[in-house]
Symmetry: C2
Subunit: 386 residues, 2 copies
């Protein structure tokens, strides 16, 4: 197996991008990453995207984006794994490059969610759930996460206010990320008074619908890389679970996250203590709690208490959502997994905004989760050694 490096990164601010079409968003991110890597061609383009067909009437994204970025003729496909499409595309590219079959691959995550009404977008997002047995019953992801959060509160004796810490932390970090959608703090009090969406999920428990694109160049070619800008991919490991939550023995235990996380640690040959920061998938605050527990970063039923102890703050034991997470940076679905990678690469390159730059950071885990924990990819990035 060849060692795989991230030799270039690019991202657009997460926003409502009324001025850029889907192809423009994607192409700009790709070209930024290729400029950063100082390359003009690649062997393939892998696109992570979930909803371009439903929301913008465009499939065949691989070909579209390859052409629009001047990469016409190269291998180009779209990979879909719900909200984890970005990292799933990275996983495929990682396999292809680590096997030595291709040398340099560009991976772009892109999503344009604000073309239609919020109602239509929420319905489109529900296609990540079981269409026949969840979505058809009116269960969108706010509702599914509300059921999980209510059960968690009952099981482990928490109040709604206890979850505020995840949201306050994410927004506090996002203030310093110029690419974040929400560059402002929110207080415990604002959280408590937040508009209810699906009890107990409030507006401020929910990551926002957003447009965005982020891209990375991955390569096994040591000669082509610029050492001080290069980060290693130690592993990129998948895990899945049932698509419908009601088919799980314990709905509060995300088996896909457990499988993906522990496999990633094993492949990278490291332990939980070796992970210096985690860019996780806080689509809803309950998803942070559940994934931290299944991944082994908090005891069962203790993630919320651990968060309230400050252990996931920037100066805590394991900083999470360093760049704002899905809640603060925004959640452009198929792009989110690549934003996590780009942000973590910046951190390891020492290029994070001053307020967010961690000291002595060697190794970062990113975790991209699709559906209600049904499709998960966990990646570990580390400083490159040559």
């Amino acid at each position: 197996m060849s060692k795989v490096y991230i030799s270039g990164i690019g991202q657009l601010p997460v926003r409502e991008h009324w001025d850029y079409s889907l192809r423009e968003l994607a192409a700009r991110a790709v070209l930024l990453a290729m400029d950063d890597a100082q390359i003009e061609s690649a062997d393939a383009l892998y696109v992570g995207n979930m909803l371009s067909g439903i929301l913008t009437g465009q499939e065949n994204l691989g070909t579209l984006i390859a052409e629009y970025t001047g990469l016409e003729g190269i291998e180009a496909i779209k990979v879909e794994a719900a909200c984890a499409s970005g990292a799933a595309a990275l996983r495929q590219a990682f396999l292809t490059v680590s096997s030595g079959i291709l040398e340099t691959v560009v991976v772009v995550g892109v999503e344009k969610l604000t073309e239609l009404s919020g109602f239509q977008t929420t319905a489109a997002l529900a296609t990540a759930a079981d269409a026949d047995y969840e979505a058809a019953m009116g269960l969108n992801f706010c509702a599914i996460n509300a059921l999980l959060m209510r059960r968690y509160m009952h099981e482990y004796k928490y109040n709604r206010a206890d979850f505020a810490e995840f949201v306050v932390t994410a927004h506090r970090n996002a203030v310093h990320n110029p690419n974040a959608m929400f560059q402002f703090e929110i207080t415990q009090e604002q959280y408590s008074k937040s508009k209810m969406i699906a009890d107990p999920i409030s507006l401020l428990d929910s990551s926002p619908i957003a447009d965005g694109a982020a891209a990375v160049v991955i390569t096994s070619n040591k000669k082509s890389i610029i050492p001080e800008r290069t980060v290693s991919i130690a592993c990129c490991e998948p895990g899945t679970d049932t698509i419908a939550v009601h088919n799980r023995n314990n709905p509060l235990w995300l088996k896909g996250v457990e499988k993906s996380t522990f496999k990633a640690l094993k492949t990278a040959g490291v332990s939980h203590q070796d992970i210096d920061a985690l860019e996780g998938h806080d689509a809803f605050s309950i998803m942070s709690a559940l994934s931290l527990e299944a991944g082994g970063f908090a005891e069962k039923g203790q993630a919320v208490a651990t968060a309230n102890n400050g252990e996931f703050d920037l100066d805590g034991r394991l900083p999470i959502s360093v760049f704002g997470g899905l809640k603060g940076r925004g959640h452009p679905v198929g792009a989110t997994g690549i934003y996590q990678i780009v942000e973590s690469a910046m951190q390891l390159r020492g290029e994070a905004p001053n307020e967010l730059q961690l000291e002595d950071v060697k190794r970062i885990m990113t975790q991209n989760i699709g559906g209600s924990g049904s499709n998960v990819t966990t990646t570990i990035l580390q400083k490159a050694t040559f």
Copy 2:
């Protein structure tokens, strides 16, 4: 690189499947293939599908189908490359297995196109074209292929009736394929009188909207295979072109097909003469002509004449559409590429229906084309040697 074998195949008849949902179609094909390979688990499931989100409100297909087939927990993704999604999924699985990273992968192509009206399905299929510059102008694939066919007729001096041969041949073969949608012959006269859809494309130039699912088990594990049922994948090579036809220097020359075909021949170390049959992508009769020329199986402008010489008949130089092709077997978009593989494996295993079984067949090419030739994957299968 490990040698890659097809150790199991499964397919459902191509039909309007009112009695099976999307997941049931896919699961039945997967279980048939796993039964055929005599395996009960696999390392991953790759799904080729284009339109499940738009037409059946279901994304996250990898997870859905893995769960429904008892493969819960394994790596599972969907690959999309328009009408070439099936073969694009196979290509990813082939890379993963040939690299030795995974050992056994199930690939399923599935599409359910008859849930909505023909109008809605035709609009959904147009998402494989350029949404902003083709589909938005009212160009669906009938219209795009009509422009290509009209230009071809003008350029190379053909009449509409000259194209009948592709259609007559496909239907003549489909009669003997129990999984074909149209098991009846059509005559030159019927073709000539066929209802016009988009002049000069008639109903009988067009492959039908259909439901279907087909699956293969691919593996590098020689110990697990049943030699007499096993076929080798010699190569699986991609090629792309601009998504919009108007961006091509010569709209009658499919550069993606040329690239994919010649790369496949080179990788397999064989020449055109070594290919004993071709399951090509006759979504429209003009697409047969253009792809045979770009792939080097007919001279420029001569594919139609060559067809009329009988060279693509069952007993001709290079039999095409042996199982009926997209025209006769049907075209369940994301499944089509896997139907081609299953049919060719049957041929090499000597399990084709008597009337369709070719003598001394050693090597078959399949070619799955997405969009207007914008995303192509060419695969060469051959008898396995041990």
